[in-house]
């Protein structure tokens, strides 16, 4: 009996103008959205390839360990085509320095090449599904009971042995089997557009992600059908039901996310990052002062009143590269690094305390926004979609956490190899070839070389040396993707969506039990 009514509704729906309009909407909007998203992904990939090649080139040119600054370039995930999440708001790369914790990615963000076009309204596949499917679900369900009541068919149906719960389940199924094909068609069409592009391939894990996204979309669709059914069961007239449905749609899809966004900012205030930068500058100044004191102390230890360099490149972040310097200078730097680099790490920890506080503030704000937006099923769906597509804030923060863990690994490598205490940290020159100040002056006087006219041994020049073999330096890598991680992360939200659907189902059963069929 349930199937009979569901089938009847399915046939009537198929021949209705709303089905045709809904199908045509999907046929127009889905390909357009996917073409735009694929284009955006291809741009991101081009940027990624260029950035990665540059990073590799720099890596291959490193000649001293103090220059080891791995540049991490985040590869855009193909699933980002389906749900962009926060990808466009964030950068794509960062240079990892031992003296600071990686906070956020910098580099190329997914903004448009032409900033004047930023006002252009661009949405991804998951947003289109969230908007279109909720609208279609409400359009098909708002008059589910009211129309049967108005047309008098409900009375006739209830003169047969159809119970109210069977009727309700049948009506629900009737819409589900009408709209799921449209949803499936949308997924197949969008996947085809992606798959037919030779530059994009999906891994098996990504395929599972797409399938999971489809299943969650069905769940989302069902929730909106149940919302429409609840409205229909509470309304006596279709005209009332359509107004309430449309208002609910606008409220759930557009107002709740906006309210959540602004409320989270009001509830959880974050100080501007400039304040954090000020604290970091203070610590930098303190570190610089201590370094200066150490500088004098080591000079005294070595009995020199200045540090002369023949060929020196360096920066405030700990990078030093020098050749042809006298033994005293090299020893000075070795001793300075032995103290300074662990101290730099200590100061990085101190700076991280400020940065983490700020980051925690961001996370808290985002968390409040997420929780508040759970009032909207579309937001829950979007959060699940971005989690499954690994473009959610949580995915991003996990990625940043992995970079910080990698930094720890790199530090352990430096410490294990005692690189801070070594000459190799800042020069490739053989320590046996270091000349003392006295010896240099002696040799210069003897005319062995002439520093004034740059007549010096070739090993005093950086170009004399080949880049370091950094094969044994730990490389940054993210563990092989598996769907269980994304699934675990989205499990709570999926359960929430199911719970919402179940609650709505119970509400609609309870309301419809008392529905006046006359």
């Amino acid at each position: 009996m349930i199937w009979l009514i569901a089938k009847k509704d399915f046939i009537l729906n198929l021949t209705s103008s709303r089905f045709v309009i809904g199908f045509l909407l999907c046929l127009v909007i889905i390909p357009f959205t996917m073409v735009v998203s694929v284009d955006g992904y291809e741009n991101q990939m081009r940027v990624y390839e260029v950035d990665r090649a540059e990073a590799q080139k720099k890596w291959q040119e490193i000649k001293v360990y103090s220059a080891v600054r791995p540049e991490i370039v985040k590869e855009p995930g193909a699933l980002g085509i389906f749900s962009r999440g926060i990808e466009n708001n964030m950068g794509n790369s960062l240079i990892l320095r031992l003296g600071e914790y990686p906070l956020l990615l910098t580099g190329h963000a997914g903004t448009r090449d032409n900033p004047l076009l930023d006002a252009f309204f661009s949405i991804d596949f998951s947003s289109v599904i969230a908007i279109l499917m909720s609208l279609l679900a409400l359009v098909f369900s708002f008059d589910l009971f009211t129309s049967e009541r108005e047309e008098g068919t409900m009375k006739l149906v209830f003169t047969t042995r159809v119970s109210r719960s069977a009727f309700l389940i049948a009506k629900f199924l009737g819409i589900v089997i009408t709209l799921v094909p449209i949803l499936l068609f949308s997924f197949i069409l969008s996947t085809l557009i992606v798959v037919l592009n030779p530059s994009i391939t999906f891994t098996s894990v990504e395929w599972i992600g797409i399938i999971l996204l489809f299943l969650v979309s069905i769940l989302y669709l069902m929730v909106f059908i149940l919302i429409g059914m609840t409205i229909s069961a509470l309304s006596k007239k279709s005209s009332t039901a359509i107004v309430v449905s449309l208002l609910s749609w606008v409220w759930l899809l557009f107002l709740v996310p906006d309210i959540a966004y602004y409320s989270s900012q009001s509830v959880s205030k974050i100080s501007p990052y400039d304040n954090v930068l000020y604290s970091l500058d203070e610590l930098d100044r303190e570190f610089a002062k201590k370094t200066e004191e150490k500088w004098d102390e080591i000079q005294t230890q070595l009995g020199i009143d200045g540090v002369g360099h023949w060929n020196w490149n360096g920066g405030a972040d700990g990078y030093d590269e020098m050749y042809g310097c006298v033994w005293e200078t090299n020893e000075f730097h070795r001793r300075l690094n032995t103290w300074r680099e662990p101290m730099r790490l200590t100061y990085a920890d101190k700076k991280w305390a400020f940065q983490k506080e700020w980051l925690d503030g961001l996370q808290q704000q985002e968390h409040i926004r997420q929780v508040m937006s759970w009032l909207s099923p579309s937001e829950i769906f979007q959060q699940i979609a971005s989690t499954l597509c690994r473009t959610s804030p949580a995915s991003y923060l996990r990625y940043m956490q992995r970079i910080r863990e990698y930094r720890e690994t790199l530090i352990a490598y430096f410490q294990g190899k005692k690189l801070f205490e070594s000459f190799a940290y800042f020069t490739q020159q053989d320590p046996k070839s270091f000349l003392t100040i006295a010896k240099t002056q002696e040799m210069e006087a003897a005319g062995v070389f002439d520093t004034e006219n740059f007549k010096v041994p070739p090993h005093w020049e950086g170009s004399y040396y080949s880049p370091l073999n950094l094969d044994d330096v730990p490389k940054f890598g993210i563990p092989k993707q598996n769907h269980s991680e994304a699934l675990n992360a989205s499990f709570g939200l999926v359960v929430g969506l199911i719970a919402l659907g179940t609650a709505l189902f119970l509400v609609v059963i309870s309301v419809f039990r008392k529905y006046d069929v006359r």
Partner: protein, 246 residues
Amino acid sequence: MLQAVELTKRYEDGHLALDSLNLEIKPGEIFFLLGANGAGKTTTINLFLNFIEPTYGKLTINGIDVVKQPLLTKQYVSYVSENVMLYGNFSARQNLDFFARLGGKSNLTRKDYYNVMRSVGLQEDAFEKKLKTFSKGMRQKVGLAIAILKDADNVILDEPTSGLDPKSASELMQILTNLRNKGKSILMCTHDIFRAKTVADRVGIMKEGRLVMLRSREEFLQDDLEKIYLHYMQEAVMFDDANLNS
């Protein structure tokens, strides 16, 4: 058999729609329930079909309690409403097929549907036409065909002749007579006193939720049913006027 004992219905707003109604429609009987608008005729039907629940009293269909076993009783009753709407985008045959299957008859052929539609006087060329193109009379015939197809022991009709042309109304009465001859209990609520005189076995007049008059065919043929009916209606009108003036 349809039976109501001490049937009372008071709506949430306090209005007493039915007041201790006792009614019994036997197999092979056509019972016409007459009365003005708001007399309680449709409430009685709604109670028999379990669309609403009684405040007090008992209702049975074929001896089965309607309130306790509503789904079971529904297999023994067919219903034809005043305005048969059905599914406009389905053809007459598709509507018949749907409701026949809902009624548990899934082995009927297209020929069976056509035969029933012929029996209620629907034109052949309308069988496969969408119902939204049908006139009220044609829809009424399809509604009747659905009731016939269900082949239930009891048939309840709510103002079925309202808006029908005389020919169609006359055909409907013939169909009801045939059903009565097959042993069906027929309850028809109507204002149509002329049709009552033609086919009713018994007639009841309702007023303000109470059955104020009950006559067998022999009795109402002897009496002037029209006069009696108008008498009760007149009282009702006078009562309404008095209410308005007070």
